[in-house]
Amino acid sequence: MPEIEKECKVISKVPGSLKGLKLLNLDCGDITATVDLVQEIDIFDEGNEVTFVVSRDKPNYTPNDFCAHGYLFYEKKSDDAFVSLISLYGLLVKIVSNSGIISSGILNMMDHVYVCIKKLN
């Protein structure tokens, strides 16, 4: 059972601040996520419906999905929201939530996690 599994929509894909970097913005209802992507793994378009999964165990995935693993290494409250960062050995996944992932006890600092974004259709 994944720790986080949300149905989300790709609301935008914008250039990141590094050459070749793109930021995928996901709206998942109570959370938003920003995922670093580079050309080799850029399989999403704006408007795509996706499932966003964060899990301690390795989820099932296909070559049509994006799936990677890394560590949850940062969480801070800024303004009214919690910002949590997962590093996929460099590429970052930034999750903004109301209750936080570590603070709400879903995951712990430096938990090894899998992050997958699966296209719904």
């Binding site: 590094l18 080799e40 296909t62 990677a68 940062y74 801070k76 050995y89 460099g90």
Partner: protein, 897 residues
């Protein structure tokens, strides 16, 4: 023979008296001829056998010792007329001025007062007795104060025009350098002959001589005028036989022969009643020869020359200077078991290694004692002999006899006869410890121990990471290599001087050995988060390292499998290492202070995993204290530091090679749009400069406090033009791709700076000499191309062009003028700081830290109660601090942050 220990309490310097010279002499030397017809040295010549033996098999007629044991003996030359000792001209001059020409007394007022009417002195003036009393009281305890008193005495006495003791009128003494004295009498300048000078000096009483700085027991003033000249032993001036069988004499011998010849001629002239003029000419010649015998570089007289035209190397030349006896033969000397050649780079060597050419390895040897464990290897080395590496050059038998393998016919037989106890001087082989050094040796890490790696080629090979401590580059630099010979020396070199033990510099505790240039570029490119690697690519770059272990699951699993650069780096980090900090690229628009950083410029390592941020100069650079590299070495040891540099750093350059790293003109070419913006900018700033000049001409310019109006104008103009270059640089920066390779180098700290890019892409800006705009050249203008008194930017060295666009001839001239200053500064600074360093080292070299932490001189005087007043060894400290609390917290719980 019993040996008694003697402790030298002090050294007494003095002048040799004529009697002393005669007493220590084995005989008078009179003959100017050296050899008789059958080639034997003539008795009474400068090669008199009594002066010592230099031929093997001969016995000294004086002491009976053979060559090597006989120390040599002095002879002497009786000078027909006295001559001035050129080394004491100043003392003679001072003494003549301070003493009476008639009675020889020091011209200080006696306490009871002078009986001479013409003698004038002020009441408070120093008296003779008082001066003597003070000198006696302070001489031993305060020698420097005594020296000042003596100077004062000389000065006061020299002023007196009448002797307070005998009332004789005194004349002014003049000196014509180097050694001619005159007296300014009524009738004019009268030359003082050495005989006369000597007579005057003889009259000075011992007490007065003491007040003039002489210690009469060891040096009377008149001894500075020579009547007898010592002839040094032949051992210090040996003759050599050249190939043709001709004998070549030492320069000193030549000089002594000259002295004897002139001395004899002078004697002959006097005896035959030659005219005074001829006698004086010969006397002057004798004076010249004796003077140049002591020092052949006296200003004002031509140096004595050999027949070939080469100046003779006489006594002073043997002693002074870099190649003189002290600096060249005593403080430092040529050594065996050393080699020198050009260095060239080899990134595949360990930082601990040095590549040694086979040619060198076959000449340098290590003495290895034969044991039952190494006997077979050493036998093979003996069989290989001196010409086949790895062989041996010598075998030393247990009885101490040395066998030269070049001349052994049957080396197999000798090898078979080896038994434990023999010593084999075998060739240098891989793993041997050697000392490697590059001059100038300014700090202790200019000389470090390396492990030998014997390689083909003719140069010493060096890992590039070890360049900073030696300050070496590969534009033709040469380095020296020394082979320690004893087990103790080898062990000491290995344990204390090995490169890995000196990664942290004792200057400030940071790593002096670390990444630079391409290592940094490679590290950045590998660790930046946009770098993804296929499995094959990961294998390729890891292949250059000794990494053994699982590569793990790729970070990206789908849509395709990719490893990240950070994943590769993490393989080399200890599993409990934590670090937070900013990267070098964290500046300007890409600055980050927390983990929430979109630019990858904030480094986070938790539990040995590089989670965020790039490795650049701040993380792994050389001479970067408190960096990731610094903490890794401090916390995990030197050996781990070496492991990182031999493996991870190699991965960095391997990645740079694989990706490709270059620069192109495009990297520094700005668009037409940017060019037109720059032109507009130039126009605006020129107007500002013009405004200042108009205001200045109208006298309306507001002066800067403390500066003249002209200086103020120059300051305003310089400020404006500086702003112009900065703005042009900004336009270029906005126009260029910040991720092009040139920018990558500048931002990561690998090479170059933003200013360099500005000058390449936008404009060179103002060229200065001594911090000011260039203004010298023609009258009121630098070059004839400008109007007189033109103060405009272009007339005073402002360069609008960039290196990319090229400079016009005038701009090139200004740039060369500015560049010349830099070159001169470098040359001057190097020589001045080198000399300063030498003086400091000589002054401080005997100070040491004792086992109890005290800093003492060799005499036991305490300099510091505890080293550095805090007892901290910078090499083992946290960048000068005893400990760094923040780092300790980070280390233990940093991963929870």
């Amino acid at each position: 023979m019993s040996e008694t220990e003697k402790i030298i309490k002090g050294i007494q310097f003095g002048l040799l008296s004529p009697d002393e010279i005669r007493k220590m002499s084995v005989g008078a030397i009179k003959s100017p001829d050296v050899y008789d017809e059958d080639g034997t040295p003539i008795e009474g010549s400068v090669l008199d056998p009594r002066l010592g033996v230099i031929e093997p098999g001969q016995k000294c007629p004086v002491c009976g010792n053979p060559m090597g044991v006989c120390p040599g003996h002095f002879g002497h030359i009786e000078l027909v007329r006295p001559v001035i000792h050129v080394g004491f001209v100043k003392e003679i001059y001072d003494t003549l001025k301070a003493t009476c020409r008639n009675c020889g007394r020091l011209k200080l007022r006696p306490e009871k007062g002078s009986t001479c009417e013409e003698f004038k002195s002020e009441e408070e003036e120093l008296t003779l007795e008082k001066a003597y009393r003070i000198l006696k009281a302070i001489k031993k305890r305060y020698p420097l104060a005594a020296k000042r008193l003596i100077d004062h005495v000389k000065k006061t006495a020299a002023k007196q025009e009448v002797c307070p003791h005998c009332c004789a009128k005194q004349y002014k003494i003049k000196i014509e350098k180097p050694y001619t004295f005159y007296e300014e009498r009524k009738e004019g300048l009268v030359k003082l002959l050495p005989t006369e000078i000597r007579e005057r000096l003889e009259k000075i009483p011992n007490e007065d001589a003491e007040l003039l700085g002489f210690d009469p027991q060891y040096s009377r003033p008149e001894w500075a005028v020579l009547t007898v000249l010592p002839v040094p032993p032949i051992t210090i001036r040996p003759s050599i036989t050249i190939e043709s069988g001709m004998r070549a004499e030492d320069d000193l011998t030549h000089k002594l022969v000259d002295i004897i010849r002139i001395n004899n001629r002078l004697e002959e002239s006097i005896r035959s009643g030659a005219p005074q003029l001829i006698v004086e000419d010969l006397w002057d010649l004798l004076q010249y020869h004796v003077a140049t015998y002591f020092d052949n570089e006296i200003p004002g007289i031509p140096p004595a020359k050999h027949r070939s035209g080469r100046p003779l190397r006489t006594l002073a030349q043997r002693l002074k200077g870099k190649e003189g006896r002290f600096r060249g033969n005593l403080s430092g000397k040529r050594v065996d078991f050393s080699a020198r050649t050009v260095v060239s780079p080899d990134p595949n060597l360990s930082i601990n290694e040095v590549g040694v050419p086979i040619y060198v390895a076959k000449i340098l040897t290590v003495p290895e004692r034969v044991t039952k464990f190494n006997i077979e290897r050493l036998r093979q080395a003996v069989i290989n002999g001196p010409d086949k590496w790895p062989g041996a050059n010598y075998v030393i038998r247990p009885d101490g006899r040395r066998i030269d393998l070049r001349y052994v016919k049957d080396r197999k037989e000798l090898a078979a006869s080896l038994t434990p106890g023999y010593i084999v001087e075998r060739h240098l082989v891989d793993g041997d410890i050697v000392l490697f050094n590059r001059q100038p040796s300014l700090h202790r890490i200019s000389m470090m121990a390396h492990k030998v790696k014997v390689l083909p080629g003719k140069t010493f090979r060096l890992n590039l990471l070890v360049c900073p401590p030696y300050n070496a580059d590969f534009d033709g630099d040469e380095m020296n290599l020394h082979v320690p010979q004893s087990e103790e020396a080898i062990a000491e070199a290995r344990e204390l001087m090995l490169v890995e033990k000196n990664i942290l510099t004792p200057r400030y505790g940071g790593p002096i050995i670390g990444a630079g240039q391409d290592f940094i570029s490679g590290a950045y490119l590998l660790t930046v988060k946009t770098t993804l690697l296929t499995k094959e690519e990961a294998y390729t770059i890891l292949g250059v390292s000794d990494y053994i272990g699982d590569l793990g699951e790729p970070a990206i699993l789908a849509p395709n499998e990719y490893y990240t650069g950070k994943q590769i780096v993490s393989l080399f980090l200890p599993k409990d290492f934590n670090f937070h900090g900013t990267a070098k690229i964290s500046s300007g628009p890409r600055a980050c202070k927390t983990e929430d950083c979109p630019h990858d410029s904030y480094i986070v390592i938790k539990k040995g995993i590089l989670l965020e941020g790039v490795f650049d100069k701040n993380a792994i650079g050389n001479q970067q204290p408190e960096s990731i590299l610094h903490w890794l070495i401090r916390e995990y040891g030197d050996e781990y530091g070496r492991y990182l540099m031999d493996n991870l750093f190699k991965v960095f350059i391997r990645y740079a090679e694989m990706r490709g790293f270059t620069m192109t003109l495009d990297d520094i070419t700005i668009s037409e749009d940017a060019k037109s913006k720059t032109k507009e900018l130039i126009k605006q700033h020129e107007e500002v400069v013009n405004d200042y000049m108009v205001k200045y001409n109208e006298g309306k310019l507001e002066p800067i406090p403390g500066r003249t109006l002209e200086e103020s104008l120059e300051n305003y103009i310089l400020d404006t033009l500086d702003k112009l270059r900065n703005s042009a640089g900004e336009i270029a920066a906005q126009d260029l791709d910040p991720f092009n390779n040139v920018y990558v180098m500048a931002r990561t700290g690998a090479r170059g700076s933003v200013l360099n890019i500005t000058q390449m892409a936008a404009m060179l800006g103002q060229q200065t000499v001594r911090g000011e705009r260039i203004s010298r050249g023609y009258l009121n203008r630098v070059l004839p191309h400008f109007k007189v008194n033109d103060k405009s930017p272009e007339a005073r060295g402002f360069v609008y062009s960039s290196f990319r666009s090229g400079l016009n001839p005038i701009e090139m001239f200004f740039h060369a003028a500015g560049g010349r200053e830099g070159l001169v500064d470098t040359a001057v600074k190097t020589s001045q700081s080198g000399y300063m360093q030498r003086r400091l080292i000589n002054a401080l070299s005997d100070i040491r830290v004792e086992y109890n932490g005290m800093v003492r001189t060799t005499y036991g005087d305490v300099i510091q109660v505890i080293y550095g007043d805090d007892g901290v060894d910078p090499m083992r400290s946290a960048h000068g601090k005893t400990f760094d609390v923040n780092r300790i917290i980070e280390r233990v719980v940093g991963w929870k942050r």
